[in-house]
């Protein structure tokens, strides 16, 4: 009979660890609701930065929105930008310090609503920054109001009968929009609701960070996420709802990949 080690013996040896929380996240408890994809997205970005040993050379720009306190959670140099202006701030940082890895972390209210102009022009100028865009189709922090990315017929606090596209317009596919611009180098859309998608998202984040070193243009990774509080669902229900409703409108995958030479 084989000897089977006990639980205490296994967890006593740190060599047995196959997965633990990265040290680039601070010990502060995350301010997000239970089950929110923001926490996973934070962790993935910090894991990649740690694996690539870039923690001393990374500057992040935090947005306004649910992730406004990102600088409290990410244990790297961070800068807080005015609402929607993170790409503009990141542009300045990158131009002054071209050797640093500069990224912005923005939600859909920040990037696709008030900051559309900054985002489009930063992408069009081809700034050598990386943008991480978390899209949950709603204004989460302010109480679940309709966002530009809200799906047609989706009920929110300000569209209680569902989003009527005739009066409120269509959801903004900003990721497809910026993929058409010649200034962007790598554009991808991922999600973090299942282990397989988390692994794929991590690969996309790795590419977005590696490509910044090439100085070929802006890298953009959208992460379709849930907002279970805003959608009034449990975390598990909201992930299922996201698969059924968000993914047909926001299909996952790489939208613009560099041409291999």
């Amino acid at each position: 009979m084989n000897y089977i080690p006990t639980r205490e013996e296994i967890i006593a040896d740190h060599d047995n660890v196959v997965y633990e929380r990265t040290c680039l996240l601070t010990d502060n408890p995350l301010s997000y609701c239970p089950g929110c994809g923001h926490g996973t997205a934070h962790r993935l970005i910090m894991e990649v930065v740690e694996e690539m040993n870039l923690q001393a050379d990374t500057i992040g720009v935090a947005p306004v929105g649910c992730s406004v306190l990102a600088y409290d959670f990410m244990n790297i140099d961070m800068q807080q930008a005015a609402h929607g202006r993170a790409p503009a701030v990141a542009t300045g940082i990158k131009r002054l310090m071209p050797d640093k890895f500069v990224f912005t972390y923005q939600g859909d209210g920040d990037l696709a609503a008030i900051g559309t102009g900054e985002t489009l022009h930063a992408c069009n100028r081809g700034e050598n920054i990386t943008i991480f865009f978390v899209n949950n189709g709603i204004y989460g922090m302010t109480g679940g109001q309709m966002a530009p990315t809200t799906l047609p017929n989706m009920k929110t606090a300000t569209s209680p009968y569902g989003r009527d596209v005739e009066t409120m317009g269509y959801p903004l596919k900003i990721t497809e929009l910026i993929a058409m611009l010649p200034g962007t180098y790598f554009v991808s859309r991922q999600s973090v609701h299942t282990p397989a998608n988390v692994r794929k998202a991590k690969k996309a984040i790795e590419k977005a960070i590696q490509y910044q070193k090439l100085n070929k243009g802006l890298c953009f990774v959208e992460i379709v996420s849930n907002c279970n509080s805003g959608w009034k669902m449990t975390p598990e229900q909201s992930n299922k709802w996201m698969e059924e409703n968000m993914f047909p409108y926001y299909p996952l995958g790489d939208i613009k990949v560099p041409k291999e030479k």
Binding site: I4, R7, E20, G39, T40, T234, E236
Partner: protein, 79 residues
């Protein structure tokens, strides 16, 4: 006979009881505890010895509350 054995350690104060780790565990090792942490959430806990250390639960945990351990079991030679 399984050749690997895993264990998870949940940081019970960090866990917010979102239950996302429960459906992704193929071995049905994780269950929500009946106890509460200081924030008032039911935290995840390991209920059996079937864990194989696949790290699925830790990958989907938004709060990074799960640490996964894995050991290889030594094969016993016949003869």
């Amino acid at each position: 006979m399984a050749t690997v054995k895993g264990e998870i350690v949940v940081n019970t104060e960090r866990c917010k009881g979102c239950e996302l780790c429960v459906p992704v565990c193929k071995e049905k090792t994780i269950k929500m505890s009946g106890n509460l942490n200081s924030k008032g959430y039911h935290f995840a806990t390991s209920i059996n010895d079937d864990c194989n250390g696949c790290t699925n639960c830790a990958l989907v945990c938004p709060d990074g509350a799960i640490t996964v351990y894995r050991v290889k079991l030594k094969e016993e030679k016949v003869n």
